[in-house]
């Protein structure tokens, strides 16, 4: 079996299995800890605070007016590369074919040349984000192995993908194999680091938003 066959075959299978196992383990692992009932009377009827939770899912995507001055640029940077990543992962023909082979559904994509442009932009933003993490005193203090390794793992996927598309540095099969292997690595690392925020973000906003809305508190 050659490297590409390995990457697309057994390595991918194992990676997906570890991904599902790890994610379930992690979420069930803390989800089954104690849940305390809130016995204080809510200010709002239940419907209202469930709506409050749902609103928070969207509203936290952009800082409140009062915070934009200090935080807008950084948040914009973060969201931008996420949008770039989503576009590249979900709207590139070969990726759609790959996901289609796994899930049995496909959808229309964007022209590949546009995807290349987006990829390069995303890569640039991604490097900028690391630079920011290292130079911003708050982020530097907060950052640990998880932050840097998760960045590296994602970066590898980006870089190998661009290299494969550009046929840069090695035979195409090898580049493609490296790209798929880097995705396998990302899947394996995913449950153990901060990448889990992909699963947490909307439930967290919804839950905390609902709890605040229950009090009528600002959210």
């Amino acid at each position: 079996m050659d490297l590409l066959g390995f990457a697309r075959g057994p390595a991918l299978k194992v990676a997906i299995a570890i991904f599902c196992l790890g994610v379930a383990w992690r979420i069930v692992g803390f989800g089954l800890l104690r849940i305390r009932r809130d016995l204080n009377k809510p200010r709002a009827p239940i419907a209202k605070y469930l709506v409050g939770g749902l609103v928070a899912v969207g509203s936290r995507s952009w800082p409140h007016r009062e915070f934009i001055g200090r935080t807008g640029a950084g948040e914009a940077l973060g969201y931008s590369y996420h949008l770039g990543l989503f576009a590249v992962v979900l709207l590139f023909g070969p990726h759609i074919a790959f996901l289609g082979s796994l899930f049995g559904i496909t959808w229309p994509g964007l022209p590949s040349s546009l995807i290349t442009v987006i990829s390069v932009l995303t890569l640039t933003l991604f490097v900028a984000v690391l630079f920011r993490r290292v130079t911003n005193p708050v982020m530097r203090m907060l950052s640990n192995f998880d932050d840097y390794f998760s960045w590296l793992v994602t970066m590898l996927v980006l870089v190998t993908g661009l290299a494969a598309t550009a046929h840069f540095g090695a035979a195409y099969q090898t580049l493609l194999a490296l790209h798929i292997l880097s995705v396998d690595l990302l899947l394996v690392w995913f449950p153990f680091g901060k990448l889990m925020h992909a699963f947490y973000i909307f439930p967290s906003r919804a839950l905390n938003g609902a709890i605040l809305a229950r009090k009528g508190a600002t959210s």
Binding site: G29, G31, R34, L39, M141, S143, D146, P203, L207, L212
Partner: protein
Amino acid sequence: MSTPAAGVPASLAPAENRSREARVAGAMSGFAQEIGALSAFRLESCIHCGICADACHFYIATEDPQYTPIWKVEPFKQAYKREASAFAPLFRLLGLKREVTAEQLAQWQHLLFDSCNMCGRCSLICPMGIDVAALIEQGRHAMFDAGLAPKELYLKAQHQRATGQPESSAEPYREQLLAIGERFGVQIPLDRPEADVMLCVPRTDIEHYPAAVAALARVMQHVGAKCTFRSDGLVAENYGYYAGGKDWQREISRRLIDQAIACKAQILLVPECGHAYAALRWEAADLYGKPLPFKVLQVTEYLAAQLQAGRLQLKATAVGAATFQDPCESARKGGINDAPRALMRAMGIELHEMKNHGGFSFCCGGGGGVLDIERAAPLRYRTMENKLREIDDTGAATFLTSCSDCRRTFDDARAHFDWQKTPHSLLELVADNLIGAGSPA
């Protein structure tokens, strides 16, 4: 992790003398009690973006990264990951997460107490929706269990739990309350066996702003409420809440709860005090173990309802332009935003909002017990510079608030900064503008 916090005062001033091991053990069991699915979820969700720092006035004033809100709970996060997270057994086995140390706890006392007003602004900015302020509150619980609550807060909580008063006074508050009634010519209903509304009072008002106490009594008389103070449950503040001692917080709240039940009150009325509202409205039932058999209302929301029902008659005041300080615990965290504004509108006040107002208002700087912590004063003053500027920038001559601790903090600032404005009580203003009331004393 475990980067030493710079600028930590050398003197620890912890409340209790304990061995290092005992401190760590205390903190760990404290963390253990606090960790549930919800706090776990919050700790899991942090992506180290550092955006919470941009909401915190301690960080904004100093640009010191150690004041990043989520950093204040770093030992809690560490303990969670090591003890209770999904992969905790692996982390322990492979030595991937270190145990929280006594040194860390000592450094973090400064961060959790001196540099946090528990104002909740950080919870508004987190893109992951984490309620950072709630985590900090839990962090304080663990610090308390480690014997690391700051001395000033600890001693007051201890005293209040035992006697009902945070500090001893020349005259018991009960007597002082009655004396205020006499001095201001208003009747003080005390220890009635039955009432619809039970009243309590900030001890800060008893000691420093007696006119506010009189105003409360006067206004309640005006609306014709069947109300009473109760000698055994007089003080609104809860130093157990500040110190992080949950059991003591419970016991302190129990005084008020028991007295409200004893006089069969429908409403427990919280006076002008922010954290008192938070402790009673949003935490007491959980500590008590069952839903409270009465409503908890803060005086502004109570009066706004009375205004709407036509029982509160207000006349226009000559104040003109004013600005208003929303107490963090009752406004941003507590949900009371419209009520004070309804009262001000009814009095014809021209409200000039601060740049950051309502739910986004910056804390006065004294919240969370910080006003009581002596060594925190220099840091507190640094955070207040921006606040005072915002107040001045509104161009309003009058400065109103509905929290006695905010008042104390701003009065303290007047002295320190030679600031020209005086913090006035909204309740006092309401009491001064009742239609059909006798002339205020």
